[in-house]
Symmetry: C2
Subunit: 378 residues, 2 copies
């Protein structure tokens, strides 16, 4: 491959993940082109070349990529056929299109887990609501669309027979409801040479209303054995897939301390935002190192870090205003990341805040203060 | 003032300092316009609006600034009259034009030190080489151009009478040669409310050939009393000036442990690059907090950090190539910052590398390894 400063990198998607990737890529003089359907996408003004176009359209993706050297993604919902054809033409695509194809489909993901002895909850696949109804699955269960679900969308809890009429009528999977103690995640990185490294396991608390991460704590305080088990699972998945890039592995820690893999994301992920300040290497830098086949960075934690998603406040829609910024910046170790989105709406991811402290309890206390005082209104 | 996300910020200068300022400004959704004479300046592709034009030209600077809300600088050599007129028109300019005017002129700087009881080496001002010759100053001494010196340019050592013919024939100052033990620096920040904070003192080793920082070590290991003395001097200068923004104060620590102020820079500075990884808050974020009148950030060190300037290798001129990148990235805690300059030439500042380690000796060892292995060639 060309040297890093002479490689023309394209990113499919120009949202916040692309934006934070660019912030790191600036350190390596990487020339970046972005494709995104939104003319006001967060990456718009901070890349070398910004193109508006559909990520799902074969021709758009192919034309975008054909003069670039290396392509990566910040969202899985992209046209795979175009990426495969670009690969044949000699453009390097990391993560590999076959992996994006697998992960795009939660049904295929689950089958992959099963075939590779990756622990995951029991599941069944369905093509329609009728099929689902006919299967007589034990209530309660979770129904997930096989495709296009993200940020808590495309997931439903089916509590009893009454809920079945509201079930998705599309290809989906039904999953046993996991009685978990904690949601955890490990981000693993793998480069072309096969070097592999994991970030320390994190713990996440979700907002049940919208199924988005509300509080993320790094590092986890669970016993070393559990952390090692989680990291080993993440490594096993990454090496089975032979992925190049980073892979976020979301898992459930059950009440009897078994780990079940929930789902994968082959790109920078919400469960790694705290690495920017909390770890020696950030997930964004690690992704760049992996796809450029550079030695991977030190993943150790520098300190305790808590990440809070900054969501659009309920009841407000319009040009975003950030209430309480000054208040929270008075506290030490509070880092604000706004995503450059002009308009807010309820629960839109507008930014995140990372809070660090050598003392874990103090970090949690500060994070609660931050959560109470910062609001995105219009 | 408007809220931070609605303020249109202009930066005079689009070099590496502007570039690193933008990397932080992205976190606050700050809309940024850049003015720089070089159409390929490092900030070119990462700002909302990039304008090519002379920083010294009244009309260019005035037109650039008149529709912005807030202006700052990343280089002192700018048209002050335009900034003063923009201020009258209601554009906020930080640092204040009167301070940039003072600091542009090393003669005025020295007089300011004298008038405010800031310790500095003895000096005399001259308008021409003839005047200088006639003064019969005790050899050896340092001659500095009053204006436009930077990065080691505009400074000469006059060792004896023979050197006088080579002396600058422009307004200059002659300074007693300080027999120093170490060059040190403190960066101080002050916001509109008058809140003030200093970064821990750093130690610098200069390359004698080109008078550029070669090794910077943070934090200093000198006795607490010396560090406090240095920080107090920096604070005294910042409060005398009532500066808004950050101010780098370069000082000499003499062999008998007196501190003499060398010179000032009212902007992010080479002596603060290590704060990006080494401190809770970086100098770039601190400058933004100061000029937006936000609470200042925690300046404490996270760990030992060493900064090495990455200069164009002697004997190479042309499109830059970075030799040894992979080699140095194998070491933990090595952070690369390339400045996006396409062409290298001998001693051009092409980037910097920060090396961190909890163990100071290990950090130094790694830094030496990095220095030996990374080269900018063409």
């Amino acid at each position: 491959m060309k040297s890093i400063t002479q490689t023309r990198l394209g990113i499919l998607g120009g949202g916040q993940l692309g934006r934070m990737l660019i912030q790191e890529a600036i350190n390596y003089n990487i020339s970046i082109s972005i494709l995104d359907p939104d003319p006001d996408a967060p990456c718009k003004n901070i890349c070398d070349h910004f193109e508006v176009g559909s990520l799902g359209d074969y021709e758009t993706v192919y034309q975008f990529g054909k003069n670039l050297d290396l392509l990566t993604i910040e969202i899985e919902k992209v046209n795979i056929e175009a990426l495969e054809d670009l690969e044949k033409k000699g453009v390097v695509v990391y993560p590999q299109p076959r992996i994006i194809r697998l992960i795009q489909d939660k049904g295929l993901q689950k089958q992959f887990f099963k075939e590779n002895d990756i622990p995951t909850s029991h599941f069944q696949l369905f093509n329609s609501r009728e099929q689902l109804k006919a299967a007589n699955i034990h209530f309660p269960f979770i129904q997930k669309l096989r495709r296009d679900g993200y940020d808590g969308k495309g997931v439903k809890k089916i509590a009893d027979a009454n809920d079945l009429d509201e079930a998705f009528d599309k290809p989906s999977l039904a999953e046993k409801l996991v009685d978990f103690e904690k949601e955890i995640a490990v981000i693993v990185a793998r480069n072309e040479d096969g070097e592999m490294t994991t970030f320390p396991m994190v713990e996440m608390d979700f907002n049940p209303q919208v199924n988005l991460v509300e509080f993320l704590i790094s590092p986890s305080e669970y016993h070393f054995d559990i952390q090692q088990m989680a990291e080993n699972i993440a490594k096993k998945i990454a090496s089975s897939l032979k992925i190049v890039g980073i892979l976020a592995v979301e898992m459930f820690l059950t009440k009897d301390h078994q780990i079940l893999v929930n789902e994968l994301a082959p790109r920078p992920h919400n469960s790694g935002h705290q690495t920017i300040e909390g770890n020696y290497t950030s997930q964004f830098e690690q992704h760049l190192r992996a796809i450029f086949n550079l030695p991977l960075g030190d993943t150790r934690c520098l300190t305790n870090a808590i990440m809070i998603n900054l969501l659009g406040e309920e009841g407000y829609e319009g040009i975003a205003e950030y209430e309480g910024l000054e208040e929270i910046l008075k506290k030490d170790g509070v880092y604000v990341h706004l995503y450059g989105k002009k308009f807010t709406k309820p629960f839109r991811k507008m930014g995140h805040i990372t809070i660090v402290d050598e003392n874990r309890e103090k970090a949690i206390e500060k994070a609660k203060f931050v959560k109470e005082h910062i609001k995105v209104k219009a």
